[in-house]
Amino acid sequence: MIRDSLILASVLFALGLAGVLLRRNVVFVLMSIEVMLNAAGLAFIAAGARWQQADGQVMFIFILAMAAAEVAVGLALVLALFHHYKSLDADEASRMKG
C-alpha cells in the first residue's frame, strides 16, 4: 500500500519537475510546482496512514496553506512579469545573466 502510494508520489513529483524544467510558460511552471507540492503531500498522507500518526495529515494541511500563499505570491509575480515583458516566457526574464 505504502509502496504504491510512494511510487505514485514519485511519478507525480517527476512529472512536476519535468514541467518546471521544460515548460517556458510561467503559468504552467507554477502549475507544475503545485503538482510537485501535492506529490510531497501525497507522500506525507501515505506515511501517516502507514504508521497511524496524525503528523502526516498535519504536514499536508501545512503544505496546502503554503501552496495557497505561494500561488498568491506567484500569480502576482506572473502579473508583474507580464506587465513588464508583455510575455509569459520565463526565459525572457534573464537579465540577471552573470
Binding site: 519537475l17 524544467l21 517556458r24 511552471v29 520565463a90 526565459d91 526574464a93 534573464s94 545573466k97 552573470g98
Partner: protein, 604 residues
C-alpha cells in the same frame, strides 16, 4: 694623544653626512671648506697620533681603541674598534695626507661642476671608509671599509652620470671587484668557522697555533683572501676594471684608483701575512701574480693613447710590484712601495689633470705636445713623478722602494728578471708619455693655467716623490716590530741593473717612441686592448649571461604564477556560464544538486 684616534674616520664621515643631506643648499665656498677641513682634521690628528706613537710606543707596539660593540650574537661580537700599529699608522698617514692634498686640488679642479657638493660628499665618505678599512681591528670592520670604498669608487667613476659610458664603467668596476669581494667574504666565513674569531690579532695567533705550515685550511683561507685582494687591487685576472675606471673625474683617479683604494689588497695581505707564511704555495702565487701583472700592464701602458689610461696601466703594474714583494715575504718593502707610489702616482694624476684641463678635456696624448714651456708646473711635476715612477737611481723615492723589491727578488732569477724587465718597461712608457706630451710641437693651444689650489698639492707631492724614500733607514726597524727583522737584501747588483734598465728605457723612448701616430701593428693593438682580457671575459661571461637573460626573457619561475592566474581565469569562465539568468536552468541545477546529495547520503 692616541685616544684621538677615533677622530680620523669620524671627521670625514660627519662631513660626508652633512654634505649628502644639505650640501645642495650650501654655497660652494662652505662646501669646499667643509670638505677640505674635515680631511685636514684627519690628517692633523693622524700626524699627532704618529708623533705620539713613535715618541712613546705603547706596550706591544700596538694601540687598541675599543669604541663600542657592533654586534653581539653568541660567540660572535665584533667591535667597532680601531687598531693602531706601525702598518696601520703608515697607511693612515699616507691616506689622510694624500687625501687632504687631493681634496685641496679638487676645490679648484671641480669648481665649475654642478655636482660640487656631491663630489665632496663622496670623496669624504671614501676617506672615512678607507681609514676604517685600515684601522679596523677585526676583519668584519675591515670588510665594511672595503665595501665602503668600493661603493665610493663606483659612485665616483660614474660621477658624470649623464654619459651612459661612465655609468657602464662604474658598473664594470663594481661587478668585477664584486667577484673578488665574494671570494673574500667566503674566506671570512671560513676563518670564523674554523678559528672562532674575526679579530685580526687573535686570528693570526690562532692560525699560527692551530694550522701547520702548508695545511689545506690555511691554503684555502689565504687563497680566498687573495681573491679579494686581487679584485680590489686590479691584479691578474681581475685587472680589467681599472683602465675603464678612468672615466671618473681626475682627482678621483688620483685618490682612489691610484694612491689609496687599489692598494687595499696589498694592505689586506700584509695585515694577514701570518696566513700567507703558513701557506707558502699561496704566497708563491701572490709573487707570480704580481710579476705577471707588472709585465702585462707594462706592455699595455706602452701603447695606450689616453693619458689617464697610460697612468692606469702603470698603476696596475706598480701594484704588481707590491704583490711581488708580498709574495717574496718582503712585507715592509711592499708597504714602502705603497707609500712612495701614493706620492708619485697621485702627483702624476694631478699633473695629468692640469694638462687635461688646460687642453679642453683633451685626453689623447697624440693631440698634445710641446707643453714644456706653456705648462711648466705640469712639466716639472710630470718630470718629478715620472722619474720617481721609473726609478731614477739615488735621487727619487720610487727608486729606493723599487730597488728594495728587486733586491728581495734576487733569490729567484725568474722573478728578478721580471722585475728588471718591469723597470725597463716603466721607463719606456713613462718617458714616451713625457716626450709626447711635453716635447715636440704643440698641437692644441693651452687655455688655462693652474691656480694656487692646484699648484700647492702638486709641489708638495713633487717634493715627497723625490725625498719620500730617504727615511728608509728609520722605516726598516720601525716595521721590523711587526713583520720580524728581515735581513737587508744585498742591493748593489739590483740597483745597478735597475739603473741600467732605467737609462736604456729613457734613451729608447727618446729615439723610438716619439712618433706622431699610435702604433697600429697587431701586437700593439693586442696590447692596447689589454691583452684581450675584455674580449675573453666578454665571450666567457658576459655573452652567455646576456644570452641566458634573452632566452629567459619571460621568467621561468614567473610562468608558475602566470599558470595559476590562467587557471583562475579559466575556472571563472566556466562558472560564469552557469550564471545565465535562466530560471529553468537554475531550477535544474537545484534539482540536480539535490539528487546528487540524496544519492550520496543513500549510497555512502
Amino acid at each position: 694623544m692616541l685616544d684621538l684616534l677615533w677622530l680620523i674616520p669620524a671627521a670625514p664621515f660627519a662631513s660626508a653626512a652633512v654634505l649628502l643631506l644639505v650640501g645642495r643648499r650650501m654655497p660652494r665656498k662652505v662646501v669646499a671648506t667643509l670638505g677640505v677641513v674635515s680631511i685636514a682634521v684627519s690628517a692633523i690628528v693622524s700626524g699627532l697620533v704618529a708623533i705620539a706613537f713613535i715618541g712613546s710606543p705603547p706596550p706591544g707596539n700596538a694601540y687598541d681603541q675599543h669604541l663600542w660593540t657592533w654586534i653581539a650574537v653568541g660567540g660572535f661580537h665584533p667591535g667597532i674598534a680601531l687598531y693602531l700599529d706601525p702598518l696601520s699608522l703608515i697607511m693612515t698617514l699616507v691616506v689622510t695626507f694624500v687625501s687632504f692634498l687631493i681634496h685641496l686640488y679638487s676645490t679648484e679642479f671641480m669648481a665649475g661642476d654642478e655636482g660640487y657638493a656631491r663630489f665632496f660628499a663622496y670623496m669624504n665618505l671614501f676617506v672615512a671608509s678607507m681609514v676604517m678599512l685600515v684601522l679596523g681591528d677585526n676583519l668584519l670592520l675591515l670588510y665594511l671599509g672595503w665595501e665602503g670604498v668600493g661603493l665610493c669608487s663606483y659612485l665616483l667613476i660614474g660621477f658624470w652620470y649623464r654619459d651612459p659610458a661612465n655609468g657602464r664603467a662604474g658598473q664594470k668596476a663594481f661587478i668585477v671587484t664584486r667577484v673578488g669581494d665574494t671570494s673574500m667574504a667566503i674566506g671570512l666565513f671560513l676563518l670564523f668557522h674554523m678559528l672562532g674569531t674575526l679579530n685580526i690579532q687573535e686570528l693570526m695567533a690562532r692560525a699560527r697555533a692551530d694550522w701547520p705550515v702548508g695545511s689545506g685550511l690555511a691554503i684555502a683561507a689565504a687563497a680566498l683572501l687573495l681573491g679579494g685582494a686581487v679584485g680590489k687591487s686590479a691584479q691578474l685576472p681581475l685587472q680589467t676594471w681599472l683602465p675603464d675606471a678612468m672615466a671618473g673625474p681626475t682627482p678621483t683617479s688620483a685618490l682612489i684608483h691610484a694612491a689609496t683604494m687599489v692598494t687595499a689588497g696589498v694592505y689586506l695581505i700584509a695585515r694577514t701575512h701570518v696566513l700567507y707564511e703558513i701557506a707558502p704555495a699561496v704566497q708563491l702565487a701572490v709573487a707570480i701574480i704580481g710579476a705577471a701583472t707588472l709585465l702585462l700592464a707594462g706592455f699595455s701602458a706602452l701603447v695606450q693613447t689616453d693619458i689617464k689610461r697610460v697612468l692606469a696601466y702603470s698603476t696596475i703594474s706598480q701594484i704588481g710590484y707590491m704583490f711581488l714583494a708580498l709574495g717574496l715575504g718582503a712585507w715592509s718593502a711592499a708597504i714602502f712601495h705603497f707609500m712612495t707610489h701614493a706620492f708619485f702616482k697621485a702627483l702624476l694624476f694631478l699633473a695629468a689633470g692640469i694638462v687635461i684641463e688646460a687642453l679642453h678635456q683633451e685626453h689623447n696624448i697624440f693631440h698634445m705636445g710641446g707643453l714644456r714651456r706653456e705648462l711648466p708646473v705640469a712639466f716639472w711635476a710630470f718630470l718629478a713623478g715620472g722619474c720617481a715612477l721609473a726609478g731614477l737611481p739615488l735621487v727619487t723615492a720610487g727608486s729606493y722602494s723599487k730597488d728594495w723589491i728587486i733586491a728581495s727578488a734576487s733569490p729567484s732569477p725568474a722573478l728578478w728578471a721580471a722585475a728588471i724587465a718591469g723597470v725597463l718597461l716603466t721607463s719606456l712608457y713613462t718617458f714616451r708619455l713625457i716626450f709626447l706630451v711635453f716635447f715636440g710641437t704643440a698641437r692644441t693651444p693651452v687655455s688655462k693655467q693652474p691656480g694656487v689650489a692646484e699648484q700647492i698639492p702638486v709641489w708638495v707631492l713633487a717634493v715627497l716623490s723625490i725625498v719620500g724614500g730617504s727615511e728608509r733607514p728609520a722605516y726598516r726597524p720601525f716595521m721590523a716590530h711587526l713583520f720580524g727583522a728581515t735581513p737587508k737584501p744585498p742591493e748593489a747588483l739590483s740597483t745597478i741593473a735597475a739603473a741600467a734598465a732605467f737609462f736604456t728605457g729613457l734613451v729608447c723612448a727618446w729615439y723610438f717612441l716619439r712618433g706622431d701616430a699610435p702604433a697600429t701593428n697587431p701586437l700593439a693593438r693586442f696590447w692596447y686592448a689589454g691583452w684581450g682580457f675584455d674580449w675573453l671575459y666578454g665571450r666567457i661571461f658576459v655573452r652567455p649571461v646576456e644570452w641566458a637573460a634573452r632566452v629567459n626573457h619571460n621568467d621561468v619561475i614567473d610562468s608558475m604564477y602566470d599558470g595559476l592566474a590562467t587557471l583562475a581565469r579559466f575556472v571563472w569562465r566556466g562558472l560564469a556560464l552557469t550564471e545565465n539568468g535562466k530560471l529553468r536552468w537554475y531550477a535544474a541545477a537545484i534539482a540536480g544538486g539535490t539528487l546528487i546529495f540524496v544519492a550520496l547520503v543513500i549510497f555512502l
